[in-house]
Every structure is written in C-alpha cells, then in structure tokens.
Amino acid sequence: MVGLSAGEKQFMHGGIAQDLRSDGRQRLQFRPISIQTGVIPQANGSARVTLGATVVIASIKAELGKPAPLRPDKGKVVIFIDCSPTAGTMFEGRGGEELSSELSVGLQRCLLGGKSGAEAGAGIDLSSLVLAEGKICWDLYIDGLVISSDGNLLDALAAAIKVCRFIFLVRFEISSPWQVALSNTGIPKVSVIVEASAEDQLEVNVSDEEFLQFDTSGVPVIVTLTKVGRHYIADATSEEESQMSSAVSVSVNRHGRVCGLTKRGGAGLDPSVMLDMISVAKHASENLIAVLDSEIAAAEAAEDDGS
C-alpha cells in the first residue's frame, strides 16, 4: 500500500539505526495518544483512541446469555474488528476482511488467551460475568472499528478496549417465578425472562437505575514491537510497517504479567531477541498504562465538568 522510494527507505533505516525516526521520535517512543470515552451512547461502554493518524473506535455491548455447557461458570466475550473503507481504498468491498480477521484473532489471543484456552480470560475475568452458574451470564460483544489507519492498529484497538469506560446494569436479582411479585415492587426495573429449561425458569430483574462499573483496570495493554532492519521500534507508522521484517505483540497487564503474545511477519526471530523484546515491551507497557490512566482521568474530569 505504501510506496516508498529507495532514498526514503534508506532515510528511514538510517534514522532508526540512529534512534531518531522520520517523525522525530525515538525507537521506543509512542505517538501522542488521545482518548474520548462514551462516544457511542447506545453501547454499554465505548471509546475513541487517536494515536497519531490512527483512529479506532471500540464499543462494548453486554447482553444476557447462557454460558457454554462446558464452562458453566464463565461468561462469554466475542471480539470482532472491522476495518472501515474510510481508512483507505484498500479496505473497500471485501478488501478489509483479511486484516480485520487478523486483528480479531490477534486481540482474542492477547486479551482472552485464544479460543481454545481452557482458562480463557487472561485479560478479562470471565467468571465475573456469570450471574447464575450454568444458567445466565453476560455476553460481552466487543466491536472495534478502524476509522483511519496509520499503523499500530493492534495497540490502538487494545487501548480503546481498555479505556471503554464500561458500565452495565448491576442490580440483577435472580428469583424463581413465584417470588417475582415481591421483587418487582419498588424502583422501576426492566425485567427480562430467560428460559433456562421448562422447570427452572428464571426471572431476572435488571434495574435501569443502578449501574456497575466493570473493572477494566485488569485488562492488559498491547505493545507491538516492529523489527525494521536490525532494530525494533514501538508504535510503527504504516510507512515503517511496510518495511518490517517481523513484529511481536505482547499484551501486558498492570502487574507486569504477560497475558498474550503474537508474532507476525515472515522473518524468523532469534529467541534471545524475542526475550529482549518481551522485556522491553513490558517496560514500555508501564509507560503506556500510565498515559492511559491519566487520559482516562482527564476524560472523566472533563465529563464531570460538562454535566
């Protein structure tokens, strides 16, 4: 997609070797990141993250569902990423599907520990989503949309998911049908009837007045290190990504634990370089988490002032 002349390539490689990239950043420096929360009022949580010229929107919707039979004590999380053609003409029609599915899989692996993971939920605590074991749980639908693309989409999407100030209905009361009359009095409630089976039909009352703030502080951030030439860089632009030999995405949570790892790109990596990259990514993630925290605090303060 990105056409670079031989001179531009040389300039970029030389800059990276001297720790001064084309846009003036150092190798491990991120672009300025800005965050807006609550951009999609219809969703339970949403955020827009702008990282340089990369713009992504993440939205989380919570719906009541039934846990999978094999994992009755866990809720479900579905991650789906879409690349909008507004990000570039290469995404028109079905052009974005390949990248979309690559990003979806990458995020699933980094945040959920993969589809097959028995203890899926390295980043998101799935057992906290269960309301009644084996019967009702919250299904989280995480949708990401890439609006404008200038590299490092995975990190931006993970950051957007992390900062989705996630609010959902908490005041659920689970009762057998004969108790409904009692629990229906008082504050106005939306009641949802979930048919579990013929005998044990459950009535769930969801209050629309009280909310639970889902704790997203445990959700990891992703730091992608892109190897260009002999060095690796953080937060690559699309020009830099066009020259990459391989990229490693490490998801790290607040406690400095690695929650997931993906490697992309054709070239192989020396294991020692890989270990080095992981420790560098861990260090970079601390800064990123600190930046996100302060941005969230700023966004919340701005919102409080507005209301």
């Binding site: 951009v39 999609i40 009022p41 219809q42 969703a43 949403s46 010229a53 713009v55 929107i57 939205s59 919707k61 719906e63 789906f80 879409d82 909008s84 053609p85 507004t86 990000a87 570039g88 003409t89 028109e92 029609g93 079905r94 599907e97 979309s100 639908y141 949708d143 949309l145 609006i147 404008s148 693309s149 200038d150």
Partner: protein
Amino acid sequence: MEYVSSLTGFRFDGRRPNEMRQIRGEIGVLAKADGSALFEMGNTKVIAAVFGPREVQNKSQQIDNQALVRCEYSMANFSTGDRARKPKGDRNIISYSADHGSKYINTFDASFSGKNLKQIDIFLQVLQADGGTRSACINAATLALADAGIPMRDIVTSCSAGYLCSTPLLDLNYVEDSAGGPDVTVGLLVKMDKMTLLQVIALMPTFFFFCCCICFVLLFV
C-alpha cells in the same frame, strides 16, 4: 401509539413537528483521506471519506467524458440498538450497501470537464443509526466532497420527513421511523433549487407530500 402529543403538540423527544434535530458537521476528521467529514443529526452519526480524484483503477469502468464516482456504504456493528450478529460478508448487507451506493452516486452527479477522466471514491461509515441515516450520509458526503476540493455544481443537502398521527414530521428519529408511517427522503441542490433524490416509502396523501417539500426548502447549509 401517540407520536405527537395531542396535548402539547410536541413529539417524543420534545421537538415540534417541523423541527429538525440538532445538526453538527466537522470536516477534515481523517488525516489519510483526501476529504472527510463527520456529520451528526441528533444521535445519528456518519463519517464520510472521499478519495480522489485519482486515476481510474479499473479502466473498463471508465465512461467517456465523465468522472467515475463510486460509493460504498457500511454500518458499524455497534451502530444499531441491537448488536447485529451478522458478519460483514452477509449477502443481504452487501447487496444493501451496493444498492445504497448507487443511490448516492445518482445523488452526486458531480460536474467535471471532459478532460478530467478521474475516479472519485466516497466511503460512508455509519457510526450510529438513529433514523435518517440516508440523509445524514448524503450530507456527510457533501461536506467530504467539499473538503476534498472537488468541484460541484451545487451543494446537495438532504432530509427526511414522515407522517404520523395525521401530522407531517420533519427529520424522523429511529422510533418514529420504525412506526411504519410513510417516509420521504429528499436530496436538494440548494442554490439551483433542484431535486436530486426522492425516495418515498408507503402511501401518503399528496398534500402531505407538499408539506414535506416545503420543509426541505427551508433547510440549512
């Protein structure tokens, strides 16, 4: 259901029957596109991106003495109240978006000199759908085309109107839109005072139709 209060004459969301929702437009929201715009009509939010004029990618599509205008319309998964479970590849959605695309192309019959055989791509992304997405898309695309510096005969604006509770209503929101009443979307060239798009759903009295048209003439920009 009472969509217009018989007591006060106000609608659900507190508007008068001939009142539009708050509109907001912003241009240059995307760094990578040649022209882009964000357009909001109440809770309906649309981003439009314009790429071009550029060389025609597929030479067989080139038409003599005309610019090739292409348009793609997509809705974000989170744009509607219920999360759409269908993936993007769903056939209905594709044909729907193709259908929409051609409508927008007809709306934007941009004027070019004969030598300018270029391609213009318009991409529309609905971020939030709360009724009137069609008109919001057209308005957003107009702004994006203007932002891209593409010469146009005139500015195309659009708005929808409906007819509920024997009252003509301007700029329907989702609740009013799904009430099943008649629904008109009109695209207008404001200065030339010409209509480029007219879409009517369901039956309606002629008199109401004229009411709608008058509403549109009073439009903005």
